[in-house]
Every structure is written in structure tokens, then in C-alpha cells.
Amino acid sequence: MDETFPRIEPLGEAALLVRFAPRLDDAANRTCLAFRASLEENRPEGVVETASSLGSVLVRYEGDGGNLDDLLRERLAACDWARVALPPRRFWRIPCSYGGDDGPQLTEAAAMAGVSEAEAVEALSSARVRVLALGFAPGMPYLGILPDVWDLPRQSGLTPKVPEGALVVAVRQLVLFGTAAPTGWRQVGRTMFGCFDPSRARPVALSPGDEVVFEAVTSAEMQDRAAADADRHGGATVEDLT
């Protein structure tokens, strides 16, 4: 397909989709975060919801949409969105137990990346990744972008079930499972982080743009810290970034 970006196209009858890139791209994702934040700050008339994904911003409207398309085009042209500072966000340190029963495919993933298991844990537990998007299940983050060696293809077959809190890797991204589910990504670790809990004051813990380090701890320490965490954040610490 011959396509130029950004593109604005309808998605269904009541939304426009602004796409910034055809593939995973850090600048495009930062653009999504900044552009969506500006739309939220100053919502065009008729707009009822906005959301950002890996490489696009969804703009849902009521009514017939009027000239929303033109208005978005003007806003897009107003500045270089990839250079706009990211909106206020948070920095999380989430305890993670790598390998063994908690990361049954660590060995395989490390071999595919061409590193030892210890090097894989060192690399993954020190990587400061950004929440690129939330999706699949409520509050479930896609994080990245990891260095090239982690451009692992998805498995051709699915793992029938990874547990809630599983940390999986593929295509230069980590995903922290918000629910027990089948996946084609490889499970390298386990956290006790609850991505979504409707009974919490803030049901969805992470926001797109938040930064996360999955610090390596033993399985026992992970369990202990989670048990002491009434918010079901698995013993994570969090601070504001501005």
C-alpha cells in the first residue's frame, strides 16, 4: 500500500482515526501521546472521547462530525508533535521474578535474542520502557521500545494460557498481562501487578506515556511485596514525572 502519514480516516460512523505511522515507531508513539493530550486539553466541539494507541489517535464524536476532519488537519499542522513535551506521566518500578516457573520461556527468548539468560534478565530488568498503549484487556500495557535484539517474532502457536501479571516479550515490546489469557508472545517473567481493578480509586493503574522498570526480584520477594500492597500494584513504587 502506498500511504503517507499522518492520515485521517473514518473508523465506523462516529469516529476518526489519525494514524501517524504504519509500523512501530518511537517518534510516532510520542506524537500520539502529545497530540491526544492537546485534544483532551481543548476538545473540539462534538468530540466525546479520544484515545491513543501504538501509532494512532482515535477521535470519537457525536452528531455528523461537521468539519472535524479539517479541524484535526489544522491542529496536526500547527506544530511538530514529535517534539512536543510528553504530558504529565508517572514512573513505576514493578517487582518482577524472571525465569523458572515465573518465566518459562526466558531461556528460549534469550537464545533468540542471542544473549545468555543472565544477560537477558539484566537487559530486561534495567530497560526503562514507556507505556505505548493500553489494550487487549482493560489497563493492559504494551511497553517499549526495546532494542533491536528483542525484535522476536510471535510464536506460530499460542501458549494456551499465561497468568495475570505475566511479563511477555515479542516485536521489541513487553506486555504485562492484565488477565489470564492465551498468547503468542513468550513469557519471561511474572509480576503481581493488577493492571485493572474496578474497586480501586484509580481502576486502571497505568496510563499511556507512563514509564516502567521491571526490576528483578526473587519469586519470594515478589510475593512478599505484593502481599503488603493493598492497592494490588504488586509492591510497585510510583513517582510523578513532569
Partner: protein, 322 residues
């Protein structure tokens, strides 16, 4: 209060859903047949949250004087053994036992009471969203809070949407990934609603045709909305429902227009559906107006039908009748 006396699987409380959480990965959810919700609202004035049953039988006891609206997939409904017309609302006194049995026509049926069910909202809605872990299916013994309500018996003109048929589609940003030939075959193909389907989506089968695209595996995950027709890796289409994931990496060949989505989700397993692309203007023009309601009177033409239904009801309430 309404008491659940008996209840089949996956019967839930649903309302207009929980919009506004797409950025957080939470789909809007809510009633699968939005038209049935509009019909209940037209009948009762204010319908709010009601009960959705995917063809599962249901027996309820009213502990309040209220008016009950029955919309969506027709069920055999009886109040204390007396047959009740579907697509209608009925004032019923406290103590009434309401029996609902599936007829095999359509998938999702709705029971609303005037003023709606009034359990606490979760994130701005009373809809259960089982995949997200919000709410639970109803179970015998459940008490569903609601206030007393006095309303007249009325009927609503409900367009038939239970037998599958033509579903109009809008193009999506991925439609262009499919070859002209694939699109043409898709529009000419007759699909059947597969037995596999739920509030997340409905699988379709065709006669061995596949509609995979080039480069489908490299697609960047992007937003999905209910109504999207997603092609999985093996080229099998799914029509996505109210609890679909919010993003996905499979291409969407098209998106079923809002006017036809109730028909898409009400198609029973085996029902035939086919697709035709339309423009945004056509989709907007196809949106139905407010459902029309009129007083429910006993039309003499319906008496034989009513009598036959009463015979069925009489079987279960022989004691009261005797």
C-alpha cells in the same frame, strides 16, 4: 426489588454501556442489541439498566408494582401463567412470577422495568462486562433493586432483525489491504453465523473461501470498535461485539453500520448473512428513528394466538387455574 428464581447461563444486567474508557483498554460493552434498548426506552420512557439473556430461560419474581418491557429476541413470556405479548410492556403487580423461555428466534432478549434497575454503577454503568471482570452473571437468589413504577400497557413496532440477512459495511483503514478480488468475493459470498460466538464477537463461516491479506502479520495493532469485521490469520471473519478487545492486529475488512449491528448480533447460529459496502452518508441515513409505540389492546385478530399461548402457560400454572 426483582428476585431471580431461576436463570440459565450468561444472563447479565446491561445498559447503554461504559463509553469513555478506550484509552484504558476497556471496551464500551452494554446491551448487544442497542435497538432493543431503544425500544424498551420508548415503551417505558426511562428504561435504564435491564436484564439481557442470550437465549437462556429465566424466571423472575416481582417484589414491587412495576411495568415490564420485553424486547429483543422474542421469548415465550408468561406472567403467573398468562401469556404476555413480546415487544410490549405490561403493568404487573407485586408478587407476579415472570417466566421467559427461548423460542430459538434471535439471540439476545431484554427485560426492563420502568425506571430501570438501580444497583450501584461501576465506572459509570451498571453493565456487566464479564471479560473485564466487572459484574457477574445473574444467579438464582439474586435480588435486583428497582423502584415502584406505574406505566400503561403498550406495544412497540420492532423491525424484524432476528434472521440474519444483509449487513451494510463501511470501509475501515485496513480495507485497502484486501485485493479488489477479495472484496468482490467477500461481497458476493454467503456466510453463516457459526455456533462460536459471544458478546466479544461472532464467527462466520463460508464455503471454504478465505479472505486473508498480504502483509497481514506485520500490521501495527490499532483500535477496534464493535461492528468491525475482523479477518483472523486463517482468513475467517468475525463480527466484533460490545465486549471486543479495544485494539488488535488483525485487519478489519469493514465495519457493520450501526443500523445493522443489532441484526448482525441477533443472527442465530446457522443464519445466513452477507455484506455490502456503503458510504458514510448512506450509513448515517440508515439510522432508524425513534421506535413508535401505541397502546396495547387485545386485537381480536390475535386472540387465537393468545389462546394457544395461554394453553402453554396453563401447563405450568395448572394449579392456579384449577
Amino acid at each position: 426489588m426483582i428476585e431471580v428464581l431461576a436463570c440459565g447461563p450468561l444472563v447479565t444486567v446491561q445498559d447503554g454501556g461504559r463509553p469513555g474508557w478506550l484509552a484504558d483498554g476497556l471496551a464500551e460493552g452494554g446491551a448487544a442489541d442497542r435497538r432493543a434498548l431503544e425500544e424498551a426506552r420508548a415503551l417505558l420512557g426511562h428504561a435504564g439498566a435491564g436484564i439481557e439473556t442470550p437465549g437462556a430461560p429465566l424466571r423472575l419474581k416481582l417484589h414491587v408494582n412495576t411495568t415490564v418491557a420485553l424486547t429483543g429476541a422474542p421469548m415465550r413470556a408468561a406472567a403467573d401463567g398468562r401469556a404476555l405479548a413480546w415487544n410490549a410492556c405490561h403493568p404487573l403487580p407485586t408478587g407476579t412470577v415472570l417466566d421467559l423461555r427461548p423460542t430459538g428466534e434471535g439471540v439476545y432478549s431484554y427485560v426492563h422495568v420502568g425506571g430501570g434497575l438501580t444497583m450501584p454503577e461501576v465506572l459509570g454503568s451498571r453493565s456487566a462486562h464479564l471479560i473485564a471482570g466487572i459484574g457477574e452473571p445473574l444467579a438464582p437468589g439474586d435480588s435486583l433493586p428497582c423502584a415502584a413504577f406505574a406505566g400503561a400497557a403498550r406495544r412497540v413496532a420492532a423491525a424484524d432483525r432476528m434472521g440474519g440477512g444483509l449487513l451494510r459495511l463501511l470501509p475501515t483503514p485496513q480495507t485497502r489491504m484486501f485485493s479488489r478480488d477479495a472484496i468482490e468475493r467477500f461481497e458476493n459470498a454467503m456466510f453463516r453465523r457459526d455456533a462460536r460466538g459471544n458478546r466479544q464477537g461472532v464467527r462466520l463461516t463460508s464455503d471454504g473461501q478465505e479472505f486473508a491479506t498480504e502483509g497481514q502479520l506485520g500490521l501495527l495493532s490499532d483500535f477496534i470498535l464493535p461492528g468491525d469485521v475482523q479477518m483472523t490469520g486463517d482468513g475467517v471473519p468475525y463480527i466484533l461485539g460490545p465486549e471486543c478487545q479495544t485494539t488488535g492486529g488483525y485487519p478489519r475488512i469493514g465495519s457493520v453500520i450501526a443500523a445493522d449491528l443489532p441484526r448482525a448480533l441477533q443472527a442465530v447460529p446457522g443464519a445466513k448473512v452477507r455484506f455490502r459496502f456503503v458510504t458514510l452518508a448512506e450509513a448515517q441515513a440508515a439510522r432508524p428513528g425513534q421506535p413508535t409505540v401505541e397502546p396495547l389492546t387485545r386485537d381480536p385478530a390475535e386472540v387465537p394466538d393468545l389462546l394457544s399461548l395461554q394453553l402453554v402457560g396453563g401447563v405450568v400454572s395448572a394449579r392456579e387455574d384449577g
